[in-house]
Amino acid sequence: MKGVLRTIAVVYVLGLVALPVVTVLRSTFADGVGPVLDVLTSADFISALRLTLTVAGLAVLINTVFGVGMAILLVRYRFPGHRLLNAVIDLPVSISPVVVGIALILVYGTDGWFGPNVEAAGFQVIFATPGMVVATVIISLPLVVREVIPTLAEEGTEQDQAAQSLGANAVQRFRRITLPTIRWALAYGVVLSLARSLGEFGAVRVVSGSVAGESQTLTLFVNDSYQEFGPDAERAAFSAAFVLMMIAVLFIVLIALLRPKEKS
């Protein structure tokens, strides 16, 4: 019985996940390393890589600040609407990324609620980098908060109060007490957010416009290349996918390393 269960579990996981991943490697390097390098040094790829790093970097930065702040508020304070706020933070993970993109267009697009005002102020959100950043922020909104909250709650406020009574100000208490307490949870949350942000596709697809060399992220580069058809386009798609996959593997290793630290 145990052997049967074990076999089912192993075959299911390997068949569904491991096997496909190996197949992509095979497709990418079917004609050797040379053509892959050509793709990775092309102007469109490099600009997509740069845009992806910018968007993901900003989104993670914003979510880290927001996440730590929100976690502190939710753990240490009670106020009306506490439960509601807690629920709203989780909302984005239950919503389709495409709906997130559409929702942003309806508010910040040219015909949206705030779109005309924002554009009159000389600022473009939709079909521009700010829209892509905000879409990515929404998609990865709860990741940092949810990792930091349990650690913070477990730690309590005794140390913080002691420091306070000894005359430490808020900044000192945060740097010397709160930050060391939550650092592994925070690191874990940041890695999760970064993985999610680099790989975001649906929401960014809706708000970017996806012009090659301009508003195309790596995931859009994969999609657009693949949709073009033809062996060169297909290789471009697989090469970029290979890069994203290597980044994902790196993150999985980081997650595996951070998880026990976070739990201890």
């Binding site: 993970v93 709906v99 909104l141 406020t157 595996a256």
Partner: protein, 299 residues
């Protein structure tokens, strides 16, 4: 600095102010700084989450309920909603069973390569969805090694959903199984309960809340999934077009009201299913022995 900081929280003399602060920190009152932070946080959430979602619902009903209804009942809308909801339910069910099984094997069994399986479970979380789509098409597409071509089939859609939702149930059930005391099972066994009876009477009640919590996350994810599906589904209208792809098409053909209508319907479906699973979960928690302690705070 010290004095200003303490007196910030009240005009009473220093010791009293500290104790008031201490009380505030543990059960309630917002300090001015915290209040400001809360204000900024709520404003930010409103601008990027609440207002946009409100905009979706408002736009859906902007031209009246009749237009909303017409938008979600066109032949194409109906077929895409039926496919998306049906496939998501199927995928949720498979995950509840297989995910629990995998968690069980990972916690209670030990075999060579177990660590590797443990790591592979996280791949769908870390892998960008469009890469997942490419992965699936290179395996089950026209040039796949098995000669199985699932491009443009509903099986392909379900497969993509299964791929991206694999970790949810496994990761929510695993910690509960790990925390379970073995002696209750051993007691049951010593009293003559068979393997199945022990599972049904002892283990299942304990893990059911966690299974449901994982299933809820998996369902929400499958319902909105886009990136991993579009390549393998080939977006055949009336056959493999999922709701996300349909909404994107509507927005790009400049019909945001119709897109918002479909999005609203999906939100309603998601809320109904999530509330249903939440109620079941509460019911199971009351009956079961322990409360699941979930990472990620899934309700």
């Amino acid at each position: 600095m010290t004095t200003t900081d303490t007196t910030d929280h009240g005009s009473a003399p220093a010791p009293a102010a500290i104790s008031r602060w201490a009380r505030g920190a543990t059960n309630g009152g917002l300090t001015p700084a915290a209040g400001l932070g809360l204000g900024v946080g709520v404003l930010w959430l409103s601008l990027i989450v609440l207002l946009p979602i409100a905009a979706v619902v408002v736009n859906a009903f902007e031209d009246g309920a009749a237009t909303f209804w017409a938008n979600v009942t066109t032949e194409e809308a109906l077929s895409t909603i039926r496919l998306t909801v049906g496939a998501s339910l199927l995928v949720t069910l498979v995950n509840a069973v297989v995910g629990t099984l995998i968690a069980w094997v990972l916690v209670r069994d030990s075999f060579p390569g177990q660590r590797a399986i443990e790591v592979i479970i996280d791949v769908p979380f870390a892998l960008p969805t469009i890469v997942a789509g490419l992965v699936l098409i290179s395996l089950y597409g026209p040039d796949g090694p098995f000669g199985v071509n699932l491009v443009g089939t509903r099986t392909g859609v379900v497969l993509a959903m299964l791929f991206v939702t694999l970790p949810f149930v496994v990761r929510s059930v695993q910690p509960v199984l790990m925390a379970m005391e073995r002696d209750v099972e051993e007691a049951a066994a010593s009293l003559g309960a068979g393997g199945f009876t022990t599972f049904r009477r002892i283990i299942l009640p304990t893990i059911t809340p966690a299974v449901l919590a994982g299933a809820a996350l998996a369902f929400a994810r499958a319902l909105g999934e886009f990136g991993s599906i579009i390549l393998i589904s080939a977006n055949l209208i009336g056959k493999t077009e999922v709701a996300s792809a349909y909404m994107l098409k509507l927005v790009e053909s400049d019909d945001p009201v119709a897109a918002a209508s479909v999005a609203t319907l999906l939100l309603i479906v998601a809320i109904v299913v999530l509330v249903l699973l939440d109620v079941l979960q509460r019911f199971a928690t009351r009956r079961g022995a322990t409360t699941p302690d979930l990472p990620g705070g899934a309700q």
